[in-house]
Symmetry: C2
Subunit: 341 residues, 2 copies
């Protein structure tokens, strides 16, 4: 009998480590392979080439009961280019591959591609190719994004060091609460042919789930003021998991402060209505696609100048771990979730 | 009621045309977007960057009842890099994304990655990243491949012109007959816990299905003798479909000769046993990953010099269509199949 180890025993990152440990890059053009938001390739000029790939599956990453195809197309592109921005780079081209079952009509796919087109226009990227195939069940979407970044300005996950400030764009947990609202309304109207879901007042959290933005404006601002972060990551898995990634890569610890974690009023309201904890949504919710980055302490003034960025804590030595500090001075260990996406 | 057009009404290429017609590349770095084996990007040096993406789904592209995970991993890489070779380029890096359901153990995925590793070693490419996610059902694999090609030597699908010779590497239909053999044995032993499938004498066609090769050796040979084809395509969809792609892109017709289509002895034998037509397998079977390319008539001697390449016909004017010529002089129109992959 062969040994059988369940995937659930590993986190996503543990699984990737185990599967890819034997792969050692051999080409000199491979500057960074696995382990950051994007692969880094040296094509010989003053810029590095960046490449990021994501896979999105119906039933895991999106539910077409309430997710409009057009919004899905838009979001897929945002998810892809967010990985390039997290390297302090700019996206240039995307390829989109889709697997579709017979339940999808050409018109539905046209809506998907309208959303893709809209995002490509907004973020100034070209659709450069892809693959189209039949599928047994549901919709599968693969996206790969190319980008460029000046060799002098590339930012990895592993450059944070002690006393660096931990900076965060936007607010957290809204996409997660939007998802819960959509799931609630789906349950309430299951089997109802003329549903009248209650979405008034929840536009913000719905938009954060259904039509998120990529933080290109922040990368623009960082370039404008000439500030290169010491580390950066795209918040796709949630603050807890992604902060731990930065700390693991940078071989450091962190202290973040509960009262400084930006949570929107609408997120608080929805959490109260659903009897959920907004801080849990912010820490573990994921899907926010904000940027988490670190800068030297001396750059605090420049961060303030940009605006719209919160300093939520600072980097510590590795031995002190990764902790969330409550207003009364309590310390809660920040833990990542298991295998989800 | 919204209009509903079935995907089956379009071929794969018709669907792609319809979905992507509104996308017009805007960046000067996008040399070629949709419509060839790979996207072509100008990063500023003497080489172009190539990017190709493929999506492979369980139940559509592979059946794990008989497809060993290790071979699957190997084949995925071969499929990906074959697209880069078809541009007369060399693959450099790949990203692999997988979606896996709970039926897969870590050990099964390790086998998959062993096959990926083996192909990466053999074809000298680095694994540079990817994505790992849960899936509701089965295994989904996305692969993107980066490659490079000298700007002077890049080969597109659209460069064939009248009187060019149509050249083909290897032989056709074997992978397809291998698939049929595997399907037959699967049916014969359904429900049998100790199957004894009859594979003796069929090693060649099984290998062509389960462990195909990419024709890097032919690209090496073309470079060595300094011969740049006028057009080239990877035979993934079958000779009929792929030859029509070349003719459509190059705005030309073609004549190929039935008796010149290379079909292996083992493919003939299996076809006879299964009462199938080996020519149909060769024309429409797909999955061969051989290269189809055209060269000027004057280069016939150089092609002979390389060896292992068959000249199966020649390019004609568009108005004369794409025809298969039988030994008795009969003309059969070459048609592509519908939406499959």
């Amino acid at each position: 009998m062969n040994k059988r180890t369940e995937i659930a025993e590993f986190g996503e990152f543990g699984l990737i480590d185990r599967l890819t440990s034997q792969f050692v890059p051999k080409r000199t053009s491979t500057v960074k392979a696995i382990g950051d938001d994007a692969a880094v390739i040296d094509t010989g000029g003053t810029d590095y080439l960046l490449l990021s790939s994501d896979l999105l599956l119906e039933g895991i990453h999106f539910d077409l009961t309430y997710f409009p195809m057009k919004h899905l197309g838009y979001k897929v592109v945002v998810i892809g280019i967010s990985d390039i921005l997290a390297m302090n780079g700019y996206p240039t081209q995307v390829t989109i591959s889709i697997g579709v079952s017979a339940k999808f009509s050409v018109e539905m796919l046209e809506e998907l591609y309208e959303g893709i087109h809209s995002a490509c226009e907004e973020y100034d990227v070209d659709l450069a190719g892809g693959d189209t195939t039949a599928s047994m069940t549901g919709l599968t979407i693969g996206i790969s994004v190319l980008g460029t970044v000046s060799k002098k300005e590339i930012v990895y996950r592993n450059g944070a060091s002690k006393n660096d400030l931990i900076c965060l764009t936007g607010d957290l947990g809204a996409a997660y609460m939007g998802l819960h609202l959509l799931e609630r309304e789906k349950r309430a109207y299951a089997g109802n042919n003329n549903p009248q879901p209650q979405f008034e007042g929840h536009e913000y959290i719905l938009q954060r789930q259904l039509k998120p933005s990529a933080r290109k404006n922040v990368i623009d601002a960082l370039h404008r003021i000439g500030l290169v972060p010491t580390s950066m990551i795209d918040l796709s898995d949630g603050l807890a998991s992604d902060l731990r990634q930065v700390c693991k890569s940078s071989d450091c610890g962190a202290r973040i402060y509960l009262e400084r974690i930006p949570i929107a009023r609408e997120t608080h309201a929805m959490a109260e209505e659903l009897k959920a904890d907004p801080v849990v949504a912010a820490l573990n919710g994921g899907d926010d696609h904000e940027l988490l980055f670190t800068v030297p302490l001396a750059e605090q003034g420049k961060i303030m100048e940009i605006g719209g960025i919160d300093i939520i804590g600072h980097i510590t030595e590795r031995e002190t771990g990764v902790y969330l500090i409550t207003p009364d001075g309590g310390e809660i260990a920040v833990r990542a979730q298991g295998f989800k996406e």
